[in-house]
Symmetry: C2
Subunit: 141 residues, 2 copies
Amino acid sequence: MSASTKLSSSVKALCFLAESYPEPKTSNEIGENTGINASKLRKLLSLLSKGKIVTSNQGTKGGFQLLKAPKNINLQEIYCTIEDRKAFHLKVSEINGQDEYDYLGYFDNLFSTIQVEIENKMTKISLLSIMNDLKIKSKFK
Amino acid sequence: MSASTKLSSSVKALCFLAESYPEPKTSNEIGENTGINASKLRKLLSLLSKGKIVTSNQGTKGGFQLLKAPKNINLQEIYCTIEDRKAFHLKVSEINGQDEYDYLGYFDNLFSTIQVEIENKMTKISLLSIMNDLKIKSKFK
DNA sequence: AAATATGTTACACTTACTATAACAAATAGG
DNA sequence: CCTATTTGTTATAGTAAGTGTAACATATTT
């Protein structure tokens, strides 16, 4: 799954959980509502569970529930939880090695500073602000 | 070729042309110096030629030459010339359609504003400043 | 005319992504 | 304790994208 797909899928799932809080929702239910494959959802939500953003319970009457308030969840946090890399990592690994000059170091440094800016931007965006923009009402206050 | 690979390969080639200016260099010569495949280089340099950043000449005594001064070439310009998309386009196409809410529009908008910031950053970086950082001497003044 | 070099297309190879299936582990209820 | 349910994880098949290289037409110089 690509970085942006993971992020948007996670946001969709979290919005649905906020909308239907406090009722626990199974991966199948979330899948029906969001159009995302239930197996993909379980992968993402298990990571979000480890990151203490949702709770998960197996078995009958199990499912996923939102754990943190939407106003206290930001995009950067979601991204870091579902992706082991830094936000929108730009590859420099393909730059051919053994150069006379340190191009790899240069681009690595450049892309790092760009990433810091992206992260700063995403940190400022809360799940609640996204829901407000999309006119989704959160039941998690 | 990925976005970042294209960009770094182009920068390497342009640095070499600035370093060896005004001598025209063939794709094979650039390839030997940079470690980049000559065929790949010709693809990139033909685009840079259309973008008036280098000149190209076929036949004996042909090859590529820098056309613009390194201080007047910036990263954004290089990127736009070799890539038809905007800088480091973040995909949103994979977000599943037919939603109750406009997630696609939201992320499209978010990623667009991030892209604008990246573009602004890259516009401020000239080829000359990269060469200075890497301690490469330009013969194109 | 011959040699050289770009410009472009094509192709095989590898890697990454996508979607889905399968099943073990955990939980709830009777 | 047994069954149904649901997460968590692994595997797999199919598709798409990226990489490296080759081939050859086109253009230019000598």
